[in-house]
């Protein structure tokens, strides 16, 4: 026993002096018996809160413990549009539908003045719905969009006097999307016209009006031929690629 290599431990010195035992063991305090304090107020309140929360949860979600109910309350059903084709149809969203959807998002910028349905506000802001300017060529529409309008202005025979800010800070794609949206949603399209404005067309408009630094007045706009269309290839509404 005396050849124990671990002298510091001295565990083999059975019955030896306490001092030989390693200090960590010696200095250690006795584990005192547990106190008998009653449960205090703080934990009780917290417990009550947790119980209320949990019981509320159980009440709201358990659906009366019925085996045949699988749909959790507050569950949002599948947000995809219903219709023939199901998943496949939903995944293959036509290009024009996506383009219109994005256009609608951009149109949120226009809603404060022109209203969600493009009706405008009588006496203040002109309508877009069936407006001669929307129904007409895309050049005029693009010009207004990019440079804005200031001063007296007539729409469908009604006079307005207000300011429209130029929206040339929006990207070409966003301008194209919102113009498409406005024409297809609010305009009356001519026979054989699809109302689509492409990014290429908006680029052309930017080029055409790049020297103009001030907003349009009515006379300046009317100088643009009513049926003038922005140059650019027609696209296939399904794919967004130039039509054959």
């Amino acid at each position: 026993m005396s050849d124990n290599p671990d002298k510091n431990l001295d565990y083999e010195a059975e019955g030896g002096s306490v001092v030989d035992v390693h200090d960590a063991v010696r200095r250690e305090k006795v584990l005192p018996p547990t106190g008998k304090e009653p449960i205090s107020f703080g934990p009780l309140i917290l417990t009550a809160l947790v119980l209320i929360l949990g019981a509320g949860y159980l009440g709201a979600y358990s659906n009366g413990f019925r085996d045949d109910i699988y749909v959790t309350k507050y569950y949002r059903p599948d947000p995809r549009p219903a219709g023939a084709g199901g998943d496949a149809a939903a995944e293959k969203l036509a290009w024009i539908d996506q383009w219109m959807k994005d256009g609608k998002k951009v149109y949120n910028n226009c809603v404060p003045c022109h209203g969600p349905a493009g009706a405008g506000q009588p006496g203040l802001f002109p309508p877009l719905k069936d407006s001669e300017w929307v129904n007409g060529g895309t050049t005029r529409l693009g010009a207004i969009m990019l440079k804005g309008i200031s001063g007296p202005f007539t729409v469908n025979g009604v006079g307005y006097n207000n300011i429209m800010a130029p929206w040339d800070t929006l990207g070409d794609e966003k301008v194209a999307q919102v113009l498409t949206y406005i024409r297809r949603e609010f305009g009356t399209l001519k026979e054989g016209e699809d109302g689509i404005v492409t990014t290429e067309m908006v680029k052309a408009a930017r080029e055409q009006f790049k020297d103009r630094t001030t907003p349009w007045d009515e006379a300046g706009l009317r100088a643009i031929p009513e049926d003038s269309m922005l140059p650019g290839a027609k696209v296939d509404p399904q794919t967004g690629q130039p039509a054959q």
Binding site: A24, L31, P32, T34, E37, P38, Y61, S62, N63, T72
Partner: protein
């Protein structure tokens, strides 16, 4: 017992020394092999994060795919490190609490080898591609008996020890230990019998989630709390505040833990009441955590400064705090408004890591810092390395939880947009994955010092002097954390 409650009698001290000697080799075996697995797990955590961030890395090597690295990382972390460290803590605690020497150290060491073999086989089979995509149960089902028998061979010895305890009130730590010893075989066997390739896939997934939640609440929690209930009064030198509160905490855990788990798939294809019951249980169970936390808080009232000096207390209390964080996060995220967003996102990984590393591992470190000097006969060499261990671990766990929470929101926000390509959800979350890489690097940095110190103590080259190694004190200069607090008070520091 002597009149001064805090001073041990010579008989007490001799008894302690004899108990520590009897468990010395098994406990050291568990701690050192656990630390080795922790090293492996840390490395794999880093690699799996890197692979997730840069998926084109090592494209031709299936062994280095995320689908193998991540499960292997978790297996090494949960079974290799956490549970193994927990087993060591259980043996030492039970021997000390019941004042029994361990009669069969050899059997326990054999069982320990069996457990390690089980973990190694589990890791290798999953790494070789034989795994099942069942988190924490990825190994082929025939590996389970190895772990199961290894576990039983260790913990069965706790039962006769408990039966041979001294007369008198059962200490709350003993209740937690017996609970943990018996609950694990139940949940492990149930999960392995019911989860698998055959049978209902949906239910397998649900039971898998039940198992993970139960391993946390039915094993990690009781082992960590048993250790905390033993160490906090020892270091504070005063009794645990309230026995009734401790009882409430224990029974709340015992009654509620088994119901938790299914809330991970709230809204899934189960009868709605099943996840609802789980969700409610995961909220109710916060009571168990609050009870334990409040008890430690009241016990330490007026002596919080001990936290600054005692490594054991600091790691243990941090673990309890993270347990609270875990319980609250997991309860809150079972509400459908959050769950519908977060349930399939990186957030879940953050939550699991919080439980295994932030909570349990930190509590286990606390116990190891206390136990190892007693069974090796030397002191931890460096307060600086202990401090580094604590802070780097804290930063690591903070990083992983925060980035996974925010990244989970970003990822899930895209996943829930039906008309967005799935890859968008990967792209937006990709930046946050860096958090995981950084976190495991920080944790590796934290643990290097720990490994080094543990190795020194294992070969008997720890610091040889009277007086513990405290965090803000010259090694060996003061006899206890309490003295250090008193000295600092007098000198005006801190």
């Amino acid at each position: 017992m002597s009149l001064d409650l805090n001073q041990a009698t010579p008989e007490d001290i001799r008894e302690r020394a004899a108990i520590d000697r009897s468990v010395r080799y098994p406990v050291l075996f568990f701690f050192t092999s656990a630390a080795a697995w922790l090293f492996v797990a840390t490395l794999l955590g880093f690699l799996s994060g890197l692979k997730l961030r840069v998926p084109t890395l090592w494209e031709d090597c299936p062994w280095l795919g995320y689908s193998r690295l991540f499960p292997v990382h978790m297996l090494a972390l949960v079974y290799g490190w956490a549970m193994q460290a927990g087993l060591g803590v259980m043996i030492w605690l039970m021997a000390r609490l019941t004042r029994n020497e361990l009669k069969n150290p050899v059997t326990v060491i054999v069982a320990g080898h069996l457990w390690n073999a089980g973990v190694a086989v589990a890791v290798i089979t999953v790494w070789a591609g034989l795994g099942r995509s069942m988190p924490w149960l990825d190994f082929p089902v025939w590996v389970a008996p190895l772990l199961f028998i290894g576990y039983l061979m260790v913990t069965l010895w706790l039962i006769p020890m408990f039966r041979a305890r001294r007369a008198g009130e059962v200490y709350v730590s003993e209740m937690y230990l017996i609970g943990a010893a018996l609950w694990f075989p139940w949940i492990f066997a149930t999960a392995n019998l019911l989860v698998g390739d055959e049978g209902a896939a949906t239910m397998s997934t649900g039971i898998n989630a039940w198992y993970m939640s139960n391993l946390i609440y039915f094993w990690f929690a009781p082992v960590a709390l048993a250790s905390a209930y033993y160490l906090v009064p020892k270091i504070a030198g005063r009794p645990i505040h309230s026995y009734p509160l401790a009882q409430v905490g224990f029974w709340a855990l015992a009654v509620l833990a088994g119901w938790t788990g299914f809330q991970r798939y709230v809204g899934g294809p189960f009868p709605a009441w099943i996840p609802a019951v789980s969700g409610a249980a995961s909220i109710f169970i916060i009571v168990a955590v609050v009870a334990a936390g409040a008890n430690f808080w009241f016990t330490l009232r007026g002596r919080q400064k001990l936290w600054e000096y005692s490594p054991t207390l600091r790691f243990t209390l941090f673990g309890v705090l993270m347990f609270l964080a875990y319980a609250v996060l997991s309860g809150v995220s079972s509400f459908f408004s959050l769950s519908q967003v977060l349930q399939f996102s990186h957030f879940v990984v953050g939550l699991d890591t919080l439980a295994v590393y932030g909570f349990f591992s930190m509590a286990a470190f606390g116990a190891i810092y206390y136990i190892v000097p007693r069974i090796t006969g030397c002191e931890w060499p460096s307060p600086t390395l202990i401090r580094g261990h604590f802070w780097f671990s804290t930063y690591g766990i903070g990083t992983v939880v925060l980035t996974m929470l925010v990244g989970g929101f970003a990822q899930a926000g895209q996943m829930n947009q039906w008309d967005q390509a799935f890859v968008r959800s990967v792209e937006v979350a990709n930046g946050w994955i860096v958090g995981r890489i950084v976190a495991w690097l920080l944790i590796a940095a934290a643990n290097l010092g720990f490994f080094y110190q543990l190795a020194l103590m294992f070969i008997g080259r720890g610091r040889r002097s009277a007086g513990p190694t405290l965090i803000h004190a010259e090694p060996g200069s003061v006899g206890s954390a309490e003295e250090a607090v008193a000295l600092a008070g007098a000198g005006g520091h801190h």
